[in-house]
């Protein structure tokens, strides 16, 4: 099974020169559209399988025509085999407040209904399958009604969307809830996983604990990735999830190599 897995990274435009000539990377996820003056974009597009992983919109609300058109255009530009979005609700309905960072919805029946309805509508407008990524919570909100894994399972069963399993997100939730990561992972609907994200974590001064960082994954995270992949029978790709102007080429290339080695 692992022979069929693609192993890749995110396209970081400041590393365009290195990525345009790199070996050992099967795909690049695109978090932003290519810059109009990016000299490396033509070579990148020619060389790699590209995965659409942009901000399309938060599916707590229906996507408008402008956003759907943008998603369709980017998916076509990249030739993306699937289209990714996140289980996120990061700006208020009136647009007055915006966190500019992935933030999970309340795990309630109302939000499940919203996400199922709006993801189903988006899926119907795309020419590629839709995959949805789990988002970590640093704190629990008392109003949530369902455990996250159950909420996700019901979402995937209702929509037929694929699961983009972000492993560091699962690991962080386990860490901040004093749970065993493998036991916590086992509760997620792994049979729906199409792609996995693997990343490094570092101590954050504000959180006073670990969080995602543009760093190499630890040996523990790599072992966790190998464990997870062995339980995701439909997985097609593993992506080193680092997209930051401070990411160095050494970290990117070594991380991809070590992920491939761990699998």
């Amino acid at each position: 099974m692992t022979n069929r897995l693609m192993v890749g990274a995110f396209y970081n435009p400041h590393l365009g020169a290195e990525l345009a000539q790199a070996e050992g990377i099967d795909h690049l996820a695109m978090a932003d559209p290519p810059g109009a003056t990016d000299p490396w974009w033509p070579a990148i597009r020619e060389r790699y399988t590209l995965l659409l992983h942009d901000y399309l919109g938060q599916l707590s609300e229906p996507l408008d025509e402008r956003s759907i058109g943008r998603a369709r255009a980017l998916a076509e530009l990249y030739g993306s085999p699937w289209v990714a979005e996140h289980f996120q609700c990061l700006h208020t309905a009136d647009g007055a407040y915006n966190l500019n960072y992935v933030f999970p919805p309340l795990y309630t029946e109302e939000f499940l209904d919203r996400f199922v309805r709006n993801a189903t509508a988006l899926k119907a407008r795309l020419d590629q399958p839709l995959v949805m990524e789990n988002i970590p919570g640093f704190f629990d909100v008392a109003a949530s009604q369902l455990p996250e894994p159950l909420w996700l399972r019901r979402f995937f069963e209702a929509t037929g969307a694929g699961f983009l399993l972000d492993l560091p997100h699962v690991w962080l939730e386990a860490h901040y809830h004093d749970r065993n990561p493998e036991a916590w992972l086992a509760e997620f609907p792994l049979e729906h996983v199409v792609e996995l994200h693997v990343a490094g974590v570092e101590e954050d001064r504000d959180l006073r604990g670990p969080w995602i960082a543009p760093a190499e994954p630890s040996d523990e995270m790599l072992a966790f990735a190998a464990h997870a992949v062995s339980r995701c029978p439909r997985a097609k790709a593993v992506t080193f999830d680092a997209f930051s102007p401070s990411l160095t080429p050494d970290v990117l290339f070594r991380s991809v190599e070590r992920i491939r080695g761990a699998l």
């Binding site: 938060q58 609300e61 408008d64 990061l90 208020t92 915006n98 504000d206």
Partner: protein
């Protein structure tokens, strides 16, 4: 924001608490007892640092490119004590917080003793970009495209936040060069240059060269003056004014109120 009556409204309240430090400290939020206040505070501070790091990297990208000369990467302010002092008053995305953070960056980079004659102009330009971007935005297009009111019936008005910059150097000519590989600092011609910085309702910031006519139109567009009065005030023929207004609307600098 009213007392939450649905899960969506409740989610909005959590988002506001994370984004708005004074609200987070208020009895109204604390009484709700929705989440561990220690963790909410920690996460809100993490988000604030992330939010302004991203904006500084985006809007001060030319100063970043010059950091090997100035020795002062603009994003370094996010890790400084002065930024920590702002945290109790931060409201993510507000004009006031954007102004406060931009001031930190301008003071930090501007203190460099570097042989870059246009550095002060550059910092004013980058600060203007960051300020214009701040403020609420439209996330979804709910406005029907048909049946829009006739422009002829409404007076154009300057969009709040639109900025006119008077510079001593021709920055637009040098900016692209700063982002390309260079060994000697690209120089800008000393030439009075006027720029207009504006934001679309969806948050896209755009810059265009301006001139005396364009500047007059922007300054006079108060939502009350008719096209004829604007044309007379700006010293432009009505046909030229209409073309100028079209460009300004596309830039996001001027809008026609719907009148509804």
């Amino acid at each position: 924001m009213n007392h939450p009556s649905s899960d969506r409204a409740l989610q909005d309240d959590v988002i506001r608490a994370l984004a708005d430090a004074p609200y987070r400290a208020s009895p109204r939020w604390r009484r709700r007892n929705l989440a561990d206040p220690y963790r909410v505070e920690r996460y809100a501070r993490f988000l604030a640092r992330h939010f302004y790091f991203e904006r500084i990297v985006q809007f001060f990208k030319y100063s970043r490119a010059l950091a090997r000369i100035t020795g002062r990467p603009p994003e370094a302010v996010c890790k400084g004590d002065a930024f920590d002092l702002l945290l109790p008053s931060v409201v993510l995305g507000s004009q006031e917080t954007a102004q406060a953070v931009a001031r930190l960056v301008v003071a930090h980079v501007g203190a460099a003793r570097a042989p870059i004659p246009y550095l002060a102009d550059l910092l004013r330009y980058e600060e203007a970009m960051m300020l214009v971007e701040a403020g609420p935005r439209i996330w979804r297009d709910d406005t029907p495209t048909e049946g829009a009111p006739s422009r002829a019936r409404h007076a154009p008005e300057k969009v709040e936040g639109t900025a006119l910059l008077e510079l001593d150097f021709d920055l637009p000519a040098v900016l692209p060069k700063l982002l390309q590989p260079w060994t000697e600092v690209p120089q800008a011609a000393a030439r009075p240059t006027q720029l207009l910085v504006a934001r679309s309702p969806h948050g896209r910031v755009a810059v265009a060269r301006s001139d005396a006519g364009i500047a007059a139109v922007v300054q006079l567009a108060d939502g009350k003056r008719t096209l004829e009065q604007l044309a007379a005030g700006a010293g432009l023929p009505v046909e030229t004014l209409e073309a100028t207004l079209q460009g300004l609307v596309e830039l996001g600098a001027v809008r026609f109120p719907t009148g509804s």
